[in-house]
Structure formats: C-alpha cells, structure tokens
C-alpha cells in the first residue's frame, strides 16, 4: 500500500513538472498569459490521471508483471507470494498457488460416455466449487445440453431443462466444456498471447496478462470460454484454497477464463473434479500417450466422436458409446 502512494506521488510530480514546462515554453508565443490549460498540459495531466487510476486499482508489481511464460523462477515465486498475500487479505485463508509444470510424457485427453450421462449436472457444480467460479455473475464451465432422441441440432438443444428427475424419457444429454483442442483457434487469435497450449495439452490463460478483448471467445466454436463481466463473487466458506496459477486461483474482473481439466489436480496426478463427481461414471480422463490408460483403451475399442470435427480444431475431448 505504501508502495502505491509513493508511486502515485512520484508520477504526479513528474506530470506537474512537464505541465509547467509546457506552459513556460508556450508563454512567449501567446500574447496573454493563459489561465486555461493548454492542449499539451491537458494531455499530460490526463495521462497522469489515467496512470494513477490504473495504478490505484492494482499494485505496481501487478501492473508491471511479466507474461507467465517469460518469467524467471524467481519472478514466479515473487508473484505467487504476492498473490497469496492478496488472497489471504481478501478471503482470510491461506492459499496454495501452485506452479507445477507439465509431467513428462503426458498428453491429457478426456472421454465422456454419452449413453451413460443422465444430465444431473453434478459435474457442473463440482466444477464450480473446485475452480472457484463466480456465483454471481454466474459462470459455469460445463453446459449440459439436452437433445431429443435422434437429433443433434445444437440450436434445438436445451440447457435450462429442469424436470423432477433425470434421465427423462426420449432425451439424451451432452455436457460440453472446453475441448482442449490440439489446433485451438482461441490461442491463435489472442492479440497478446495471454492464452496458449501447454506441452501436456491443456489450454490455459494467464489471467494477469489477459486484456479482456474476448477475441478468443469469438473464435471458440464450443463456447468454452467465459468472461468476467463483473467482480467474481465466491463465498468465503466455499473457496477452494488449493489452486494453480494457470487454473483455479481467484480471478479478477475483465478477464477470460475457462476449463483447464482442473490443472491444479491433474498436474499432481488426481482426476479432475467433474470425473470424481459424476454419479454414473460417464466421465473418463487420462494420458493419451499411455496405451494402457482408460482414455487410450476407449479410443481404441469404442466408437468415439469429437464435436464439430469438420472444423479441424482437433479436440482432445472425445464422446463415446460404451456399447
């Protein structure tokens, strides 16, 4: 906090100096001494004010934080410490902000048994809890689409279904979330490269680098990305403190976020939260490079398909029929 004040006072003195200089230089040209600010002094003042406003909403270190992939290990440590202090202040709990890298020889894949899914949305809320998703405004990484049997027209699908019991006769359900494409269009359109594909196949976002332009959301054919239109709100007693820098750490307003297959869990070997929450065991997760993994066996032995495969996005999210 003391840092902020110092920074602001410094910048304001600099602005004052430049402004007075500008006025002094213009004086000989103008016949009368000007009481109004000149165009130049106004611009300088406005720039200074904007700078102060920008710096007022975040710390100096945060404002000048480097891109995650370009930070050194020491810088990452500093950032993690700063974030921990910030989160402790906001939520009153000690956070773990992990920075685990990809495990060698892994490429994560996901499979969902579309015949087994009963559309109960347990996965949606497990995801909300695990990933500290904003409750209001509401963000849910998983959309469960309901289709009439025999159809697969997305425009005819329903996500607001709310019967007493599921599954319903005559319908089937298809949960859709980030497909972690191998040829991800969202990462290509980002003007600042704030989103990229990790070596283990996870498409991640550096929230601190994101400028909130939402190009990635326009590029994603699966609507797998979400924008924080307002300040995310998560109840203090429901916050998950085991986090990852690229994953479920608390986000801020004006940044894009998305499913990371629970990077904070899968990078330490655990299953994603949605896999563990599914009551019917329709969700499968594993290493595509391991021929003995569940996901590899499914792709090898079952009928699988990927959403909108004609777009050549090459998702690593497979839907399959177990029988």
């Amino acid at each position: 906090m003391s840092n902020d004040i110092k920074v602001q006072s410094e910048s304001s003195t600099i602005d004052d100096q430049t402004a007075t200089k500008a006025e002094a230089r213009e004086e000989p040209n103008s016949p009368l001494p000007t009481a109004r600010p000149t165009r130049r002094s106004f611009l300088a003042g406005a720039a200074g004010l904007l700078g102060m406003m920008a710096l007022g909403s975040c710390s100096w270190q945060e404002f000048f934080q480097q891109h995650y992939q370009r930070m050194t290990a020491k810088e990452i440590d500093e950032v993690v410490e700063r974030l921990k202090a910030q989160y402790r202040e906001k939520y009153g709990q000690d956070f773990v902000v992990g920075t685990e890298g990809p495990i060698d020889g892994t490429l994560f894949g996901y499979a969902l048994d579309i015949q087994r899914c009963i559309g109960c949305r347990r996965c949606v809320y497990a995801c909300v809890n695990e990933n500290n998703l904003s409750r209001d405004p509401q963000i849910q990484y998983i959309r469960v689409l309901r289709f009439k049997d025999g159809t697969m027209d997305f425009e005819e699908s329903e996500i607001y279904y709310n019967p007493d019991d599921v599954p319903e006769e005559g319908y089937y359900y298809m949960p859709v979330q980030c497909q972690h494409c191998a040829n991800a269009p969202c990462t290509k359109v980002c003007p600042v490269r704030a989103t990229w594909t990790e070596p283990d196949g996870l498409v991640v976002v550096d929230y601190n680098w994101c400028i909130g332009c939402r190009y990635c959301m326009a590029a994603c054919p699966y609507q797998g990305r979400w924008f924080n239109w307002g300040d995310p709100s998560v109840p203090k007693d429901e916050i998950t403190t085991q986090t990852h820098y690229l994953g479920n750490r608390p986000r801020m307003r004006n940044v894009v976020e998305k499913c990371t297959f629970c990077i904070q869990r899968v990078r330490v070997g655990k299953y994603p939260a949605c896999v563990e929450a599914c009551p019917v065991g329709a969700r499968k997760f594993g290493n595509l490079l391991d021929p003995d993994s569940e996901i590899s066996r499914i792709i090898r032995t079952k009928r699988v398909f990927r959403l909108k495969s004609e777009l050549n996005t090459q998702p690593k999210f497979y839907y399959f029929f177990a029988t």
């Binding site: 495990i103 892994t106 048994d113 009963i118 559309g119 109960c120 949305r121 347990r122 949606v124 809320y125 509401q138 849910q140 959309r143 996500i159 607001y160 279904y161 709310n162 019967p163 007493d164 019991d165 599921v166 599954p167 899968v266 070997g269 655990k270 299953y271 896999v275 563990e276 599914c278 009551p279 019917v280 065991g281 499968k284 997760f285 594993g286 290493n287 003995d292 993994s293 569940e294 066996r297 499914i298 032995t301 079952k302 177990a322 029988t323």
Partner: protein, 207 residues
Amino acid sequence: MNQSLRMFGIALVALLPALATIGPIGASEPGTMIGTPTSLDEGLSTHGSEGKLAQQEFPVPYKPLPKTITPCRACHGPEKDFPVDFTRRESLLVHRNIQLNHGGVRVWCLDCHDPEDRNHLLSLSDRKPIPFDKSYLLCGKCHGTKFRDWREGIHGKRIGYWNGVKTYYLCVNCHDPHSPKYKPIEPMPPPKKPHTPQEKGSAERTL
C-alpha cells in the same frame, strides 16, 4: 513371477476356509481399501485368462451389509431351521424389503447366493467362494462384456489418481443387485438465464 502367483493362490485357498469360520463377511471396516496398487497394476496390465482373473484385486470402497441381516449364517446355517428352498416364491417370510427385479423370472436368490454358505456368493466354476466385497466376479459371470469394460476402466466409476492408486466403484455401488436399473435422480439447478430487455422485471429472469 508365475510361481509366486501360484504360491499366492495356494495360500489363498488354504486361508479361505479359516477365514470363513472366523465369522462376519469381509471383517473389514467401512471405507477401507481392499487390494494394493501393485496387484491393481498387475490386474490391468494382464488381459489374463479366467484363472488369473480370479486372483485380480481391485481397490474398492467397502460397502457394509446392514447389521440386521448379517452374518447370514446366523439364520441360514446348516444347523438352523431355514431349509434351503430352491423354488421361486412371490412373497418371502423375511427379507421383505427386497424387490427382486433382476433378469425377469430367470433369476432367483440362490442363483447368486450360495445355498450352502450364505456368507458368500455362489462360487466360481472352480469352487472358490466369492466374498461379498468381490461381487464383481459373480456379476461378470453373466455380464461379461460389461465386466471387461469395468476392469479396463471404461464402464463404471473410478476416483483417485489417473496415474496412480485408483478406487474402483463396485457394480453394486451404483446398481442395486436386486434391482439393477440405475434409479433416476433429481438434477441440480439449471444455469441462470441471461438478462434480456424483454424479460426485465419478470419472474422468469432468474429461473
């Protein structure tokens, strides 16, 4: 490796009658893990024959049977008054809470429960009794393709570590063995509808 496996098998056969006489099924606490990660890995890496299959171990959450009905031998022992009756009956004297809805009229209690030893399920073809916590061996006798998928992690649920120790859910953790069709459940609430000018002020805004 083979020899050690065979030794293990012999030891198992030798131990089982002893275990059976000790009493209640399984004798493990609820929630304990059965089996070890090493035996799990063996089980998954070998697409073994039936003989090997019987020796596979899967770590599963233990689902205790209700205390009121166990041990089964308390009523169903050879010295007790309930004789073995193979005939299919509509209403039972006890176990009235069980609605048998499995396999139509083709399946009866004693097709799965061992008539001679009610503490165990009907034994495999090699006369090895199946304890209740390894019921998947019995289910697999009819549902072979499902069992194969379950063994490989395609059917059913696993939790734990994708690259390490997993906990398997048994067939009976999700399917009531007496009425195996998965029961409908209540869905969690749908997402909020986005705010649109037409719906301003109406009750539909937050569905």
